[in-house]
């Protein structure tokens, strides 16, 4: 029935369908890292339920020799360990695809256009030297072994991957590996491969590492000198502060005293978390929090205070699907407009938007420089896809510029400025005043920070002009950030009339979509935003293209909205290419949407 097709090498999608709490993460990571170690570009995406145990969960690995990291809509291979989702999982298989499943599944497979490999999971895992409590867990190693045989993944790489996973703990490595090896052997002896998918070693991915955005963000913050962290648990942000809790004690003891140069406080809620970091920022510490939509909502009032009282701090929003509690374990880019204007009254914030895990690291340290330079809160807009999934990504680079602590003045410097100094006095004409912090013992250093109207000396004022002058300075300061934030990445082709703007985790799918469109003869210039306020490059890009498609993972086309607001005269050129269903955008959807819009 099935034609024997040509080999498909290093270019397909595997999905592991399991039940959460079953420990499949170890197995999935093992495959992922083994492939990575073989030099094959990969990305792993976890689609998991918002509960702890017993519900279907899917992990998809995209293997792409061309280095595409975006989500594919269908699977080529599915490893189904969950009878409850079996039928549905099969439906997502491309024709010619492959299914692996435990041989004790009761269901019969209706599709005839796929290859099916039952695995003796029970038997193989029972034979292992493993306590009965861990059998279900170790069962996952069976599919690791079988899949390795099927795809021709080197068993050695599996061993190394386990080593990596268990950080060299031999006992754990060996008991897992023994099951995988046995399964591998079983497969070699019992299976007949009748599908086209396999992998081949490629040139080593030397400049790359593999990790997730939240870990990267935490490490970036550590190299940014973070000193105070307050947080409240929330998916998908929690793993960022948890990585800080793990790594700070390792990397941030005072070289002189061996004491901590940091403090992490688990707050009672997000209102408190942001209050704490604003307090710390006021105190002169590099402070941060990480949260997601519901937490961000609760931070609204305090964010406005930080803007207005000019307190530096860093807020990571690892976005998930809203409105409301929404889909806590799914991804979106749907807090963009909200974060930008978080707070009542006329408020606007600087946002950094990492488009890769490497940028999560980079913006991690950069955010502090910006916040302290601008004396303002800076929002780093990540999302679940970037933050919690495993990505192949460029190695982290050591921050080149020295820390920018901004215009903080201590006793000596203040002494020179006495007379001209006022906490909110714009003496340099750059809209940024000089700042003292508590602990400065100069008798003229103190001021009263406040969320109410104040004059350049920080004194309470209700004077209409004082108010407006101050507010206008804040806007000028905001716009001055345009020269400091990372510039957009512009990729211009010869003679493209139209352009695409995108940002964040939507970039991988756009890269791929643009290649597909190019092959169809539709060429687009591209601009990837990395920050708001928009820099002059953005305006130039809009000006120089007839139509600009704004591709993003939300319902409202929020970045298109922000662009319309900022460039009303050019807003007519913008076309929204936006949707969100909780999954990362796929190149296929983008291609289809742009072609449809272009009709």
């Amino acid at each position: 029935m099935k034609a024997q097709p040509q080999d498909i090498i290093n270019d397909f999608c595997i999905t592991f369908a399991t039940v959460n709490g079953s420990g499949s993460q170890t197995a999935n990571n093992t495959i992922l890292r083994a492939l990575f170690k073989m030099g094959i570009p990969i990305s792993g995406k976890n689609k998991f339920p918002s509960n702890i145990q017993g519900l279907p969960t899917w992990y998809s690995i995209r293997v792409s020799k061309d280095g595409y990291l975006g989500r594919l809509e269908k699977d080529d291979i599915v490893v189904c360990m969950n009878p409850a989702s079996f039928e549905n999982d099969l439906a997502y298989l491309n024709p010619g695809g492959v299914v692996l499943y435990p041989d004790d599944f009761k269901q019969t497979i209706q599709r005839t256009d796929i290859s099916a490999y039952p695995m003796p999971v029970k038997a193989l895992s029972r034979s292992a030297d493993i306590s009965p409590a861990l059998r279900d867990y170790i069962a996952n190693m069976v599919y690791v072994g079988v899949l390795a045989w099927l795809l021709q993944i080197d068993l050695d790489e599996i061993h190394q991957a386990l080593n990596h996973h268990f950080r060299g703990k031999q006992k754990a490595v060996e008991s897992n590996f023994s099951v995988a090896r046995e399964a591998y052997q079983w497969a070699g002896e019992n299976l007949k491969k009748n599908d086209p998918y396999r992998v081949e070693r490629m040139a080593p991915l030397d400049g790359y590492i593999m990790t997730d955005g939240n870990t990267a963000g935490a490490l970036g913050s550590i190299f940014g000198g973070v000193q105070f962290v307050a947080w409240y648990p929330i998916t998908p942000a929690s793993t960022l502060p948890e990585a800080l809790i793990e790594f700070l004690p390792q990397y941030r003891k005072d070289p002189l005293t061996g004491k901590n140069t940091f403090a992490v406080v688990q707050a009672e809620d997000e209102l408190a978390a942001i209050g704490m970091i604003i307090g710390a920022g006021f105190g002169g510490l590099r402070s941060m929090t990480a949260t997601s939509g519901p937490g961000l909502s609760l931070m609204t009032e305090y964010a406005g205070l930080a803007y207005f009282a000019e307190v530096p701090t860093v807020i990571w929003d690892v976005q998930r699907v809203g409105p409301s509690t929404g889909l806590p374990t799914r991804t979106a880019q749907s807090d963009m407009t909200m974060a930008h204007n978080l707070g009542h009254g006329d408020t606007r914030h600087v946002m950094l938007i990492p488009g890769s895990v490497t940028e999560c690291f980079e913006f991690g340290w950069m955010a502090f420089d910006l916040a302290e330079h601008l004396q303002a809160p800076v929002f780093v807009m990540s999302d679940l896809d970037l933050g919690m999934n495993q990505w192949m990504t460029l190695k982290f680079e050591y921050p080149e510029p020295p820390m920018d602590r901004g215009k903080v003045i201590w006793e000596e410097e203040l002494e020179k400025r006495i007379g001209s100094w006022g906490r909110y006095a714009d003496v340099d004409g750059d809209a940024i005043p000089y700042r003292t912090v508590p602990g400065n013992l100069h008798s003229g250093a103190a001021y009263m920070a406040r969320g109410t109207g104040h004059d350049p000396q920080a004194h309470y004022s209700e004077d209409p002009q004082v108010w407006e002058i101050n507010l206008n300075r804040l806007v000028a300061k905001y716009y001055s950030a345009g020269d400091l934030v990372p510039q957009p990445i512009v990729d211009v082709l010869q003679g493209a009339k139209n352009g695409i703007i995108t940002y964040g985790s939507s970039d991988p799918a756009v890269i791929e979509a643009r290649d597909i469109l190019g092959k169809k003869g539709f060429n687009f210039d591209k601009l990837r935003l990395r920050a708001v306020p928009f820099t002059s490059e953005v305006e130039d890009f809009l000006r120089s293209h007839d139509t600009v498609y704004v591709v993003e993972n939300n319902q409202d086309g929020q970045m298109a909205q922000l662009l319309s607001q900022e460039f009303p005269a050019l807003a007519g050129r913008l076309v929204k290419v936006a949707h969100n269903d909780g999954l990362p955008l796929s190149a296929a959807w983008i291609v289809e949407s742009i072609l449809k819009e272009g009709e």
Binding site: I209, G275, G279, F282, L305, M403, N440, S443, A445, R450
Partner: protein, 341 residues
Amino acid sequence: MMEAKVESKYAKNDYRGLPSTLCQGCGHNSISSQIISACFELGIQPEKVVKFSGIGCSSKSPTYFLNRSFGFNGLHGRMAPLALGTLFADTSLKGIGVSGDGDTASIGMGGFKHLVRRNMPMVYIVENNGVYGLTKGQFSATAEKGLMLKKQGTNPYLPVDIAMEALVSNATFVARSFAGDPRQVKELIKAALSHNGIAVIDIISPCVTFNNQEGTLHSYTWGKDREAPLHEISFIPPRDEIMVEDFEEGSVREVTMHDGSLVLLKKLENDYDPTDRWQALRILEDAQRNNWLITGLLYINPEIPSLIDTYDLPQQPLNRMSQEQLRPGSSVLDEINAMMQ
């Protein structure tokens, strides 16, 4: 636990603030004076204090004392986390927070309880008047049950007892006083400033303007007899602050409030042992039953490590650390990259 008076190089003036814009006769003003006196008498370097507050008449007061201290007049009900964060910056600083009963016991209840529970070292003063002064006299959570206010009707709830709340949250220093008893207020503030941990002082501080119980004596509704309450009145007759003379430990003193109601102040006995949390709870419960306002140092436990103590921080203030101390070397990053490869 109270420090002896020290020879100070500072004059009282070094502790003053800007002129108050609160109502004439407001209890809050007298508390500001005692903060000034307490700091002066302890000879604290004013630059070593950081002031915090929320929003309300009470929360305005940090502007009116210690001009040479940094301060943050933050958000309504959110003083607690702000103070916590700031005080990590330089742990040699003393924090003094001034909040209102609305600020602390209504909107700020959660933050207050958790700050106390963390034993964050700072002085936390509640200027407790049972109403929202700044928004013109609505009930706060410490208003007496059955209190009737113009426009607001009758308060159906039992009051929050801030001292008891602090105790139940394992506060390590809990006191209560009355704004009109300046000596006691001052002594308690001095003791609080010397405590390494959270020090909660609940100070009854009458609002001269909005304790206008309809129809009671001296109510500014201008006399029932005239049958002419001034509707939507914006007139606040000048009044004097209520003051009590020094009175004995263990004795009870009647105080007439601006609205004519009576308050019974009872000073803790001389031999009261403030190190027994259990006793403190009992005496508060007792006072509630007797309708007393029990004043004095209710509880202290200097043994419990403060939040800061649990953090293994260096002597050097965090906010004075250099890039060398804060940014790991490039070899560390190389290691990390290698680990992730």
